[in-house]
Symmetry: C2
Subunit: 163 residues, 2 copies
DNA sequence: GTTGAAAATGCCTTGGC
DNA sequence: GCCAAGGCATTTTCAAC
């Protein structure tokens, strides 16, 4: 059930991440497989949870949310954002990650305006210390996941500490 | 061409972000429109660049990339990551944002292992100062973009500085 | 701008190899 | 994993509201 993905699987993933609406016919042509064969592989990738769904990609700026920011939260005990609020309360928050280190979480937020961002920061600030980073521009986002390099690059150790 | 999205457009976006493979038939039923009508709206959303494409969502962990981290770069003059390397050189980097403030960019990276992460950090470190944050767990990511709240919440000003 | 139906295309699935 | 064929859902077009 936890079989590693072969090269064909990765080609399928690459194609479907670039165009999630390809028919099995088109997809099969691009990876040199017949449509039943490719359909079976896709079904397995979905069943294994590798493919979790299909999503239309929306340009936030074109949809009226031109500002993006990252927020690091260092929540106060008992006021942690993750325990005192719910996703529905903060529709501006599009990503939430728990972190190691001194910050407890990293958020990505999208807003309509600086005024909107200011109001959001006030609400988030209730939960603890906060560091914010406003995004000026985004080079890319949602880049397709690629197969990891097979050559495990060795970590350099010029001083020889690991010997 | 830059018309604001109406409520129906947002319902369409919500459905397609949740399931990008809905047929116009199914989609129309969910937003109370006929299939030609909904097809026309989707075509316009695509043409206007609101919908930028359709993507299969891949679980990075299931695909062999169980570790995620954020990296803030404060590049040295002339060694900026964005000017001295290309996307193909750093397949681990799945997001790049330019930032305001003292850091020049925020990266999201995905790797196979701690060893892999260590090697990546070494390579990134060549370009300047670096702050990294390892993700312990992700609550959500790629949350559908929602219509911004219509009620522009006023920023609080108890002390009256803005008067 | 929207509706409804009808025609034609293309698709998915099944079975046999 | 491939090929072929059957049945089916889909997209698209059109006239009408």
């Amino acid at each position: 059930m936890e079989k590693p993905l072969d090269q064909t699987d990765w080609r399928i993933l690459a194609e479907l991440q670039e165009n999630g609406r390809l028919s099995y016919n088109q997809l099969g042509r691009r990876v040199n497989l017949s449509s039943p064969a490719v359909a079976e592989r896709v079904r397995r990738l979905e069943e294994a949870g590798v493919i979790t769904g299909y999503q239309a990609r929306v340009d936030p700026a074109k949809a009226g949310l031109p500002l993006t920011a990252f927020v690091q939260m260092r929540c106060q005990l008992g006021r942690c954002l993750l325990k005192t609020t719910t996703a529905a309360d903060l529709p501006e928050v599009v990503e939430v990650h728990k972190l190691s280190g001194s910050s407890c979480s990293m958020l990505k937020v999208r807003v309509t305006s600086m005024r909107h961002l200011e109001g959001l920061f006030e609400r988030l600030g209730e939960h603890g210390e906060m560091h914010s980073y406003v995004v000026l521009s985004t080079q890319y986002e949602g880049r397709p996941v690629e197969p990891p390099p097979t050559d495990a690059r060795p970590v350099t150790d010029p001083a020889g500490w690991s010997r």
